[in-house]
């Protein structure tokens, strides 16, 4: 694998590759040898590292998209969006708000648990 990020100050393997290496060890090596609760916790831990690896890979694009969506809705932060919705400021901007919330939710789910999606039920 070549290091495409020529301006990056760190060496390879990069953060994502290190996290995946530990994940693979827990899942494929240690996990099958463990028993009972340890086995369960190792599965949970491997899953946590998979989430972390996906987040590292997706973060630059996700952060830019999210900032763009907040700007388009005219709010400065997630907190400001929450407060505005609670105050009714988006009651008459429902299609626009709905599309933005869908995009954010799908981006978060793609990192946290991509298998959870039920595309047949989506609009």
């Amino acid at each position: 694998m070549t290091n495409e990020r020529t301006n990056w100050p760190h060496d390879v393997p990069d953060a994502r590759e290190l996290v995946e290496a530990v994940r693979d060890y827990l899942r494929d090596d240690l996990g099958p040898r463990a028993e009972g609760r340890d086995r369960f916790i190792l599965r949970v831990a491997a899953n946590a590292l998979s989430i972390a690896a996906r987040e590292i890979a997706a973060l630059p694009a996700d952060a830019a998209d999210h900032a763009e969506r907040l700007a388009a809705l005219g709010v400065e932060s997630e907190q400001a969006l929450s407060d505005a919705i609670a105050a009714g400021a988006f009651d008459d901007r429902m299609p626009e708000l709905g599309d933005a919330l869908w995009a954010t939710t799908l981006a978060k789910l793609a990192v946290a648990n991509p298998a959870y999606r039920d595309e047949a039920s989506e609009p």
Binding site: G88, P95, G98, L101, L109
Partner: protein, 321 residues
């Protein structure tokens, strides 16, 4: 080992019986479950180290005895104590150990539960009707009253101080579309797949009454159909059967008629409640209260409930997508 021997001696004195095979089944921060036999009878001990402040806690022995007398399928209580300074625990129940499986994955997939799966929706409806038919009067002193379930969740969400715009949207919709209130009844509060014992023939026990309260009974149906309790099963009711089948079975068992719209309102609240709980659990890890990889990972399940809410609120979102 010393703790086990000491507890065995206390149980022997309490029950005036020969205690054998005492083993801890699970342990939480404040609650433990033990299995043992007394003169050969298989029993279960559940004990808590703390008693909740007066007026906020659930008197589990009282509600379990009341439910048993009212025909709800619950284990028979052999001995119990609540609110007293008892050496076994601040609050404990000793009940008959019933046969059955509680692990959803096995119930949903193993061949031995094929008949139980067919009967699951009808079994749930029968138990819910029996719970909601209980006279609240004898137990209302030992159960908290929930008069505004939306405000109760909103208060917890606000305390967590972690903005989730989808939750704010759901709160706003719930506030504006409240169904006509039902007369308040005993509500189980955690009636879902995972909290039943099930054998080849169906439900053998309704467990985990620590969230019981007095409130709107439709809450129990909304919680039962929430996606969090489907465990990847295809059905909408704990992974088995449809929402419509549950409403029909509930009415057929002697319960009242509930419209799909009313159930949807409670399912939205149920998803939101599970979302707030997962936020809370992730927060417990971050604050250091209960640090564990399990707790931390549950924090990242919050988005699953946001996704469920987006699907449930589809008609209101009127998106062009």
């Amino acid at each position: 080992m010393a703790e086990t021997d000491e507890l065995a001696a206390l149980l022997g004195a309490e029950l005036d019986a020969d205690i054998r095979d005492l083993a801890r089944l699970s342990a939480g921060a404040s609650r433990e479950t033990w299995a043992f036999s007394a003169d050969g009878d298989p029993l279960i001990l559940q004990r808590s180290r703390f008693v909740a402040a007066p007026g906020t806690g659930v008197d589990e022995p009282a509600i379990l005895r009341h439910a048993h007398a009212g025909g709800v399928t619950v284990p028979e209580i052999v001995a119990a104590s609540s609110g007293a300074d008892h050496p076994i625990g601040a609050q404990f129940t000793i009940s008959r150990r019933l046969e059955g499986e509680s692990i959803a994955r096995k119930i949903l997939r193993d061949g031995e539960f094929a008949v139980a799966r067919e009967r699951f929706v009808a079994d749930c409806a029968r138990e819910l009707v029996a719970i909601h038919a209980l006279d609240p009067e004898p137990v209302c002193d030992g159960l908290p009253a929930v008069d505004d379930p939306v405000a109760a969740q909103r208060a917890t969400y606000d305390t967590l101080d972690d903005p989730h715009p989808v939750f704010d949207l759901a709160f706003r919709w719930l506030d504006a579309h409240r169904p006509d209130p039902r007369p308040h009844r005993v509500v189980h509060g955690d009636f879902r797949m995972g909290n039943f014992l099930i054998d080849a023939d169906g439900i053998t026990a309704v467990l985990d009454w620590e969230l019981a309260h007095i409130g709107d009974p439709v809450e129990d149906l909304g919680w039962l159909v929430a996606r969090a309790w489907r465990f990847r099963g295809d059905g909408e009711v704990g992974g088995l059967g449809t929402r419509g089948e549950l409403l029909d079975a509930y009415a057929a068992a002697g319960g009242f008629e509930i419209s799909p719209d009313e159930l949807r309102w409670w399912e939205v609240l149920a998803s939101l409640r599970w979302g707030v709980i997962t936020m809370f659990m992730g927060g417990e890890h971050r604050s250091g209260t209960t640090r564990s990889v399990e707790q931390a990972t549950i924090g990242r399940r919050v988005v699953e409930t946001e996704y469920d809410l987006m699907l449930l609120l589809r008609p209101e979102l009127q998106t062009a997508r």
